[in-house]
């Protein structure tokens, strides 16, 4: 039964909603105003915001100094390819979590047995490495064997787990502040292959991942993967399992079940996941600023170019920011309905 709402309540709610909306929108409004002012007028905002002259010279200067199209292209490549790659991994993962939680046979050893096996293997590998003096360059095969001893029990443990209860754990990887992982990831990117070289296998140390698409696309995909899987899982949960069972009884294989039954039914969910992740990747600034320089540098880098230690830069910075957010805002505007429907899908039963 619908509740009664008075006109006064409606008016209050509307005013409140508009006020909140305007507060949220205010920084963008400020940016848009500053972008069309001269540098010294931009600093005096909001004073005389209407009476001071309007100008488009900032956009001209930004165009002249930076290769805007290159940055747009880089951002698009990183955002779109990483999202598509993410979907390829996330659809089977979410399917497994939503429809297979109880089916998988699991080795039913108790936790402490696993713990002893895993720690024991690690200790054994470390003891062997210690006894030969850690350096593996003369014994590449032994090095490989040690890696297997070290990691096989963990892999086996992961393999025997059910996936249904891993959702929260997966999301928890997003809870760590990214700065905490910066130095290790930076080193992996900057000196990849050094381990292999030290162990006498292959020297990839000239092959640097910093400032390459080969580095940025997988990284961005991994960053957003937990969210992609989580979103897809909630959509898949809405689809009755019976339909998939019926398809199986009609003889559909795994691939057919995924591609011909599940994917078409979950298309709105997949589409909104795709959109949201393109937006998230588009706006990512921490990793892109730290791990790119020029060739794979996206729009976050473009904006950073216009902040200055000396002199005035707000107007040019605002112009650059507007140029950076314009394409994604237009995309968001056109796909608004799809996005909202996708985000609220499954929220109301």
């Amino acid at each position: 039964m619908a509740r009664k709402t008075t006109t006064a309540q409606m008016t209050m709610a509307t005013i409140f909603a508009w006020a909140v909306g305007l507060i949220m929108f205010f920084p963008i409004l400020w940016t848009a105003l500053a972008a069309f002012k001269t540098e010294s007028d931009a600093y005096s905002l909001p004073e005389n915001w209407w009476s001071t002259p309007w100008t488009t010279e900032n956009f001209g200067i930004v165009q002249e100094r930076s290769n805007y199209l290159r940055y747009i292209l880089n951002t698009t490549i990183i955002a779109v390819v990483s999202t598509l790659l993410g979907l390829v991994l996330a659809i089977p993962a979410a399917w497994s979590m939503a429809f297979q939680p109880e089916d998988r046979a699991s080795v039913s050893w108790p936790g402490y047995v696993w713990l002893v096996i895993i720690l024991g293997a690690m200790a054994a590998a470390a003891a062997i490495a210690y006894s030969v003096g850690w350096a593996m360059s003369a014994r590449p095969l032994l090095g490989l064997l040690l890696i297997v001893i070290f990691s096989l029990p963990i892999a086996a443990w992961v393999w025997t787990r059910r996936t249904g209860d891993k959702l929260l754990w997966m999301l928890s990887t997003k809870m760590m502040p990214p700065a905490g992982a910066l130095i290790p990831i930076y080193l992996i990117f900057n000196r990849n292959g050094l381990v292999f070289k030290d162990w006498g296998w292959i020297d990839l140390s000239e092959w640097n991942l910093i400032d390459t698409f080969a580095g940025m696309i997988p990284l961005m995909m991994l960053l957003n993967l937990p969210i992609v899987i989580w979103m897809l899982y909630t959509y898949f949960k809405e689809i009755p399992f019976g339909i998939l069972e019926a398809a199986r009884m009609d003889g559909a294989g795994l691939w057919q079940e995924l591609s011909s039954v599940l994917a078409p039914m979950a298309l709105p969910g997949i589409a909104s996941t795709l959109l949201l992740n393109v937006i998230l990747s588009w706006n990512e600034a921490f990793w892109t600023l730290n791990l790119t320089n020029k060739y794979a540098a996206p729009l976050s880098f473009f904006i950073s170019e216009y902040s200055s230690p000396e002199g005035q830069f707000w107007a040019k910075l605002s112009a650059a920011s507007l140029m950076a957010i314009a394409p994604i805002m237009v995309l968001g505007w056109f796909s608004q309905r799809q996005l909202v429907r996708g985000l609220t899908f499954g929220a109301v039963k």
């Binding site: 540098e39 010294s40 005096s44 320089n293 950073s304 170019e305 902040s307 002199g311 830069f313």
Partner: protein
């Protein structure tokens, strides 16, 4: 058959191209976004024409982003950059650690201003070549000074400046007597307050690395700074840095502004400044103890030890910091736009002496001595900073405390006490205090 032949020929042509491309060296240059650096990027044709086998790849970044990225790269010997833009603070520290290549081929090194060459060297070796240098001075409004019935001396004292600031303040008309930095940061408010404290006889550390915030000199300096900002400073000053104060001064809202000499060209530019015709310059104030409150800074070009193209990089640095480059800028953009503060010959040039703030800049730079920055002896070098790796963190924390005191969130005594405790703890942890 013909198709096969064609594709083979095509492949040969491509590989020849690839070999030709490999003969070229690309230098990756990391730099900050300020006027002089952007101008250099536009003028590099002059260099690449003379060195057709060297290509330049510019990475322009915000100062803090640049510092972080460059530090990560250089400390891991990543070798991403061939030329770095670094300041006077990092150069001696990184030189000492062996992270930079000593420069030998700088164009006429004897012509560099001694204060600049000294601040960019470690144990007598030059590790970065100055691209432009600056000190700080006082910019003031001649019309407002006359209205207050005062005349600015060439070398004002703090007492004069504080008295003048009060008299020039007319809040009804939107005029603040003085605008000073308040935004927290070792290179922001601490650059100013640190030099003010130097002139008051205060110092960061005594000869045994004990912090000195509990001394009467620091208390006098901070109390005066807070008092003058309360009586004659702009509203919300605790958020103001260089750019904010520049905007206030240009729009006629400040009677005086003590800041970088690099601001000179901005405040006299009639296109951007409403008060361009009324600006005068004076040396940074003193307290009668023989030290003026002016700092010394340079943006300089250096080669990281990880670069594999050090020879080409040195060629570029030599060009960018040469006398020839100064003449090139003068011929294209006029003498007022030449990067200042690096060479003696520039200040001997009669054309350059016509620039309004040229002599005042040289006098300010010469008045700053990074090896003897304070009245009492100190164990460190650096005027507005202490050239030790721990200073970035300590300076920023102390800057936050002083900024909070300016915003009225704590008293001067509390800020000094917390600064003293924090610095002492950090210096003990780092092993300076036994």
């Amino acid at each position: 058959m013909t198709t096969l032949l064609k594709s083979l020929l095509g492949a040969c042509a491509l590989s020849t191209l690839a070999i030709a491309a490999q003969a070229e060296t690309t230098l990756t240059i990391a730099t900050v976004n300020n006027g002089d650096m952007i101008r250099m990027q536009k003028l590099t044709d002059d260099f690449t024409k003379a060195n057709p086998d060297i290509k330049l790849n510019w990475v322009t970044l915000e100062e803090n982003d640049l510092r972080q990225k460059v530090t990560k790269d250089i400390s891991t010997k990543g070798g991403q950059y061939d030329v770095l833009t670094i300041g006077m603070y990092e150069t001696p520290i990184w030189g000492k650690k062996g992270w930079l290549v000593p420069l030998k081929g700088v164009d006429d090194a004897a012509d560099l201003l001694p204060a600049m060459a000294g601040g960019l060297s470690y144990e007598g070796k030059l590790y970065a070549s100055p691209f432009y240098g600056e000190s700080s001075f006082v910019m003031f409004r001649k019309d407002l000074m006359a209205k207050a019935g005062l005349t600015m001396p060439a070398e004002p004292t703090w007492d004069f400046v504080m008295n003048a600031a009060k008299k020039m303040t007319d809040r009804a008309a939107g005029v603040n007597g003085i605008c000073l930095r308040g935004k927290a940061g070792w290179g922001e408010n601490m650059a100013f307050i640190g030099t003010m404290a130097n002139s008051y006889g205060a110092r960061w550390f005594d000869e045994k690395w004990n912090p000195q915030f509990d001394t009467p000199e620091w208390k006098a300096a901070l109390t005066d700074y807070l008092a003058i900002m309360k009586d004659a400073g702009p509203q919300g000053a605790s958020g103001n840095g260089f750019s904010e104060n520049l905007a206030l001064f240009q729009s006629g809202k400040c009677g005086m502004w003590a800041d970088a000499t690099a601001a000179g060209s901005f405040v006299v530019d009639p296109k951007a400044s409403k008060v361009a015709a009324d600006v005068g310059f004076a040396v940074a104030p003193d307290k009668g103890l023989g030290k003026h409150a002016n700092w010394l800074w340079a943006w300089a070009l250096a080669i990281p030890a990880g670069s594999k193209k050090a020879t080409e990089a040195e060629k570029f640095i030599s060009w960018a910091t040469s006398k020839h480059y100064l003449e090139l800028v003068a011929s294209k953009e006029g003498w007022a736009n030449v990067p200042p503060g690096t060479r003696k010959s520039l200040y001997a040039n009669p054309e350059y002496q016509k620039v309004a703030f040229a002599n005042m800049t040289l006098a300010s730079i010469n008045a700053a001595d990074p090896n003897h920055p304070t009245v009492k002896p100190v164990p460190y070098t650096g005027v507005q900073f202490v050239a030790i790796p721990e200073f970035q963190g300590i300076g920023t924390k102390v800057g936050e405390l002083f900024s909070a005191a300016l915003a009225g969130q704590m008293s001067a005594d509390d800020a000094l006490k917390q600064a003293q405790d924090y610095t002492k703890a950090e210096m003990t942890k780092a092993g300076y205090i036994k």
